[in-house]
């Protein structure tokens, strides 16, 4: 890889540039072949952004790829519900960027403070500017701090959301660990769309497992702003079988949380007030802040993109991938983010070379762990149609009536998936 780097450094030397420019004047060649190295800036180093940066370098080592990411350590959300339930340590969720850098990606450990779509440049927090030919935004989610009365950043220190993995994850775990047996745990689940559609229900399952095994007199209530959710029958069957102390309250049963009172850890709906020992508020969300700065988010707070290239429908030369993007049927999952990143990278490489992107196919597989040795999935393939991604044939959830051996197999595959995807992105 050092060779690649040396090569690209040589490539920028003036004499080579001059020769290349002279050659270009004689031969009609695409931009890349002229030696004018293309510049791609990727903002956000999660499953989407880090995957895209690496895929671009793998497709063409001469593209200058800069990955802008504030944190030197990435903390993965998938499997973080196991950390909350005390079944896994947070360190297993954490990854560095050494291998991403070794793959030829220039790491910029800072934040982006502005995007100028006209000048095609990104301003970093330190004032430096990065020019780009194509910009890829992979900012993940931001919490809508104005989305739920009473729930602000201070409230999140008392009633954690734990919807961005890290300190929030361990805070919720500590609260559960210090709760006395017999306490009431409340989870508030938001309306669609939000990061990881089955996530609140996996979390409910694993907290219920923790309570059942460690604090059996306790009770768990899930207050939901929806009447239906991902893998619903599978979750509900498992709850009936395993977790009698878990109660799910749907939207039409009055489950929608209308405000919270952090001082007393009270969760309020139109019909009732729940004073919790531990309250996990999963609030309404939107695309990460940079999407606003780049003017690629619409009124919904999310970023509509083309299903072929993931290019923003609002700003040319800016692509959005992962949780921040909306493009049809694909759910906001780490698997989707990684799959979209690779399709986006291939499209960007084609566009930079002056070629037409290939019509993509994408896959998503989401594992949820309901208990140790009990995994369930939703999986499907997607294809573009009329500018959005639609479900291809097939797809769906694990069988409703599968034997325990199938659930155990899916739990093992879940482990394998985590190892595989984190190796591809960070390993």
């Amino acid at each position: 890889m050092t060779q690649t780097r040396r090569f690209s450094r040589r490539l920028t030397r003036r004499d080579v540039m001059k020769s290349a420019a002279a050659a270009a004047a004689l031969l009609p060649m695409p931009a890349l072949a002229q030696g004018a190295a293309s510049r791609v800036v990727v903002i956000g180093g999660g499953f989407a952004g880090a995957s895209c940066a690496r895929a671009l370098k793998a497709l063409d080592a001469r593209i200058n790829v800069t990955l802008v990411e504030a944190s030197r350590t990435f903390t993965a959300c998938p499997f973080s519900n196991l950390v909350i339930a005390g079944m896994r340590e947070l360190s297993k969720q954490q990854f560095g960027y050494d291998k991403v850098a070794a793959a030829g990606v220039t790491m910029a450990f800072t934040t982006a403070s502005a995007v100028d779509p006209q000048a095609k440049s990104v301003t970093l927090a330190d004032g430096n500017r990065l020019a780009y030919d194509r910009l890829v935004l992979a900012p993940g989610i931001d919490i809508r701090w104005d989305g739920l009365p009473g729930y602000d950043e201070a409230a999140a220190n008392v009633m954690p959301h734990a919807w961005k993995a890290g300190e929030q994850t361990t805070l919720l775990r500590r609260q559960l660990e210090s709760m006395e047996d017999g306490g009431l745990v409340v989870i508030s689940a938001p309306a669609n769309p939000f990061r990881c559609p089955p996530g609140p229900y996996e979390r409910a399952s694993l907290i219920a497992y923790y309570l059942k095994t460690k604090k059996p007199k306790s009770k768990l209530i899930v207050l939901d702003a929806k009447d239906a959710f991902s893998k619903q029958r599978l979750f509900q069957n498992a709850w009936k079988e395993l977790y009698p102390n878990l109660e799910w309250v749907s939207l039409s049963s009055g489950g929608k949380v209308t405000s919270v009172e952090p001082a007393s850890k009270t969760v309020v709906t139109d019909f009732s007030r729940h004073q919790a020992a531990v309250a996990n508020i999963i609030p309404p969300q939107k695309a990460g802040h940079i999407a606003d700065l780049a003017q690629v988010a619409d009124r919904s707070g999310w970023c509509p993109v083309d299903a072929m290239t993931f290019e923003s429908k609002q700003r040319p030369n800016i692509h959005v991938i992962g949780d921040a993007a909306i493009m049809g049927a694909m759910p906001k999952s780490a698997f989707s983010a990684n799959a979209q990143a690779k399709v986006c990278a291939a499209a960007v490489a084609k566009l930079l070379a002056g070629e037409k992107p290939v019509e993509p196919r994408l896959i998503n597989t989401c594992y949820s762990v309901v208990a140790p040795d009990y995994g369930i999935t939703v999986a499907g393939a997607y294809r573009p149609k009329d500018g959005v991604l639609v479900d291809a044939e097939g797809g769906g959830v694990s069988p409703i009536d599968a034997p325990a051996s199938t659930r155990a197999a899916e739990a093992k595959y879940a482990d394998g998936w985590f190892n595989t995807i984190t190796t591809e992105v960070f390993g």
Binding site: V16, A339, T365, G416
Partner: protein, 97 residues
């Protein structure tokens, strides 16, 4: 001029390398989310790189028809036509270490 020739030769190699990777058939890049692209990953899911193309295609057909037991591949295989599956199989068969 010698430098330019060397540069052009390396550039040509890189461009041809890029073309094969950029032209991975539709769907192929998603597979490595579960099927490891590199050796040594702890997972029960088999690698596809370097595997016989006919073997991959046959597996996809059997997943689709339900002949081969599966957890998720039965659901995913139905999303791909025979031709799409064949192209993906040929791509992975050609991926050597």
């Amino acid at each position: 001029m010698i430098r330019l020739h060397v540069f052009a030769a390396i550039a040509a190699l890189t461009v041809s390398g890029m073309a094969s990777a950029a032209d991975a058939p539709p769907g192929a890049s998603s597979c490595t989310g579960c099927h490891p692209a590199t050796p040594g990953v702890a997972t029960p899911v088999p690698r596809l790189n370097g595997r016989d193309a006919a073997q991959i295609t046959a597996a996809m057909t059997e997943f689709r028809t339900g002949k081969r037991p599966a957890t998720v591949m039965d659901r995913i295989a139905k999303g791909f036509t025979d031709d799409e599956a064949k192209a993906i199989a040929a791509y992975f068969a050609a991926q050597k270490e």
